[in-house]
C-alpha cells in the first residue's frame, strides 16, 4: 500500500467512526432530515463545517494549503443538485454514508451502492452528451463567496457562525 492509500484508509476509518457515532449514516436519519422531523444529520454537517472552515481558512491564509473550489457550473449544479436530491430521497443514502450504513449492518445499502456504481458508469458513458448540453450552459468558474462579495472571509465566517448557532438553538427548542 502506498503512503497515499494508507493515509486515505486511516482518514476514512476515522471519518466512518465519527459518522457512525453521530448516528448519521442510517436511512431513517437521512430521510428523517428530509421529512424535517429529525435534524441529526443537519446538526452533524453544520458542526463539521463550522469547525472546519476556521482551520481551513487559517491554513490557506498561511499558504500552508491551497483552496480548491469546485466550479460554479450553473447547469451542472442546478440539474445535478436536483437529480441528487431526487435519488437521495428514494435511496436514503449519500455516497459516503452508504458504505458507513453497510458497516453498521444496514445491508440493504448494498443495493444503493450497486445503483451508485451503475449511475457512475452511465454518467461516464453519457459524459460527451452532458458536456455539450447541461454543462455547457454557463460556467462561472471556481469562485469563492469572499471574492464574489469582495470582502474578507473573516467577515463571512462570524456571520455564518452566528446564523448556524441561532439555528441550533432553534432546533433544540423545537426538539428537532
Amino acid at each position: 500500500m502506498s503512503i497515499d492509500q494508507l493515509l486515505g484508509l486511516i482518514t476514512g476509518i476515522l471519518f466512518g467512526f465519527f459518522l457512525q457515532k453521530g448516528r448519521v449514516v442510517r436511512f431513517d436519519k437521512q430521510v428523517g432530515a428530509m421529512l424535517l422531523k429529525d435534524m441529526t444529520i443537519v446538526k452533524f454537517m453544520l458542526s463539521a463545517i463550522l469547525v472546519g472552515m476556521v482551520g481551513i481558512q487559517l491554513l490557506a491564509d498561511a499558504s500552508i494549503i491551497a483552496l480548491s473550489h469546485k466550479a460554479m457550473n450553473l447547469g451542472g449544479i442546478l440539474v445535478g443538485g436536483a437529480l441528487f436530491g431526487c435519488g437521495w430521497a428514494v435511496t436514503g443514502f449519500c455516497p459516503g454514508t452508504s458504505l458507513g450504513a453497510l458497516g453498521e449492518g444496514r445491508w440493504h445499502a448494498v443495493f444503493a451502492i450497486a445503483g451508485m456504481v451503475v449511475g457512475a458508469t452511465v454518467y461516464a458513458e453519457c459524459y460527451p452528451f452532458f458536456k455539450s448540453t447541461i454543462l455547457a450552459w454557463k460556467n462561472f468558474g471556481k469562485i469563492g463567496l469572499a471574492e464574489v462579495f469582495g470582502i474578507s472571509p473573516w467577515l463571512i465566517i462570524p456571520i455564518f457562525w452566528a446564523g448556524i448557532i441561532w439555528l441550533f438553538v432553534w432546533f433544540e427548542r423545537k426538539n428537532l
Binding site: T11, H69, G87, M116
Partner: protein, 180 residues
C-alpha cells in the same frame, strides 16, 4: 445538551465537530505527505470503481472514455478513504452494540411494507439517479456539503441547497401517507 444519545451514540454536534477537526488535519496531512491538498469527498470513487469493474469486461472502452480518463481509474487516496468509512462504521457499531442487520428501514416499511424486493429496487434506482446528479454537480454531501462549504465555495452553497431542497420535496411526497 447531552453528549450521549439514548442509544449510546455521540451528540451530533460533538461527532460533527470532530469531523471538522479531521477535515483540517486531513488537508494538512495530504499537503505535507502527498504534495497536494486533498479534500474529503466520496463520489469520484464510485466513478473509479465503475471504471475498474467495466475494465474487466471492455478494457478498450474504458481506456477510450473521456470521463474515465479525466478522473483516472485507479485505487487512490479517496478510494481508500471511502473503503475506510465502511471499516470505521463497523468498528464503531460493533464496539457500542449499535450494529444491527437491517433489510428494510422503519420509515420505508411504514410506507411501502416489509418487502425486501421493493426496498432493493428503490435503493438501486435511487442510487443510480443520486450518483448521476452527484457527478453532474461534481460533488456529493461530502465534497460539496463538507469540503466545499468549509472553503466558502459558491457552487457548494447552491449545490447543498439543491440537494436538501429537492430531497425535502421528494421525501415529503414519497413517505407521507395520504391524509396525514
Amino acid at each position: 445538551m447531552k453528549w450521549k444519545t439514548e442509544d449510546g451514540g455521540w451528540s451530533p454536534y460533538l461527532a460533527g465537530a470532530l469531523v471538522g477537526v479531521l477535515a483540517i488535519v486531513s488537508v494538512y496531512a495530504t499537503t505535507q505527505w502527498m504534495g497536494k491538498t486533498n479534500y474529503l469527498g466520496a463520489s469520484t470513487t464510485f466513478v473509479r470503481a465503475a471504471g475498474l469493474l467495466e475494465r474487466t469486461v471492455v478494457p478498450d472502452r474504458v481506456a477510450a472514455n473521456e470521463y474515465f480518463s479525466k478522473e483516472k481509474v485507479r485505487i487512490d487516496w479517496q478510494f481508500m478513504l471511502v473503503l475506510g468509512i465502511f471499516f470505521g462504521a463497523l468498528i464503531a457499531s460493533t464496539t457500542d452494540k449499535s450494529f444491527k442487520l437491517e433489510s428494510v428501514p422503519p420509515t420505508w416499511q411504514e410506507r411501502f411494507g416489509p418487502s425486501i424486493g421493493k426496498r432493493a429496487v428503490g435503493a438501486f434506482l435511487g442510487g443510480i439517479v443520486a450518483m448521476l446528479g452527484a457527478r453532474m454537480a461534481d460533488g456529493c454531501p461530502s465534497g460539496h456539503g463538507l469540503s466545499g462549504m468549509m472553503q466558502l465555495s459558491v457552487s457548494s452553497f447552491i449545490a447543498l441547497a439543491m440537494f436538501f431542497g429537492t430531497g425535502v420535496v421528494v421525501a415529503g411526497c414519497l413517505y407521507k401517507r395520504r391524509g396525514s
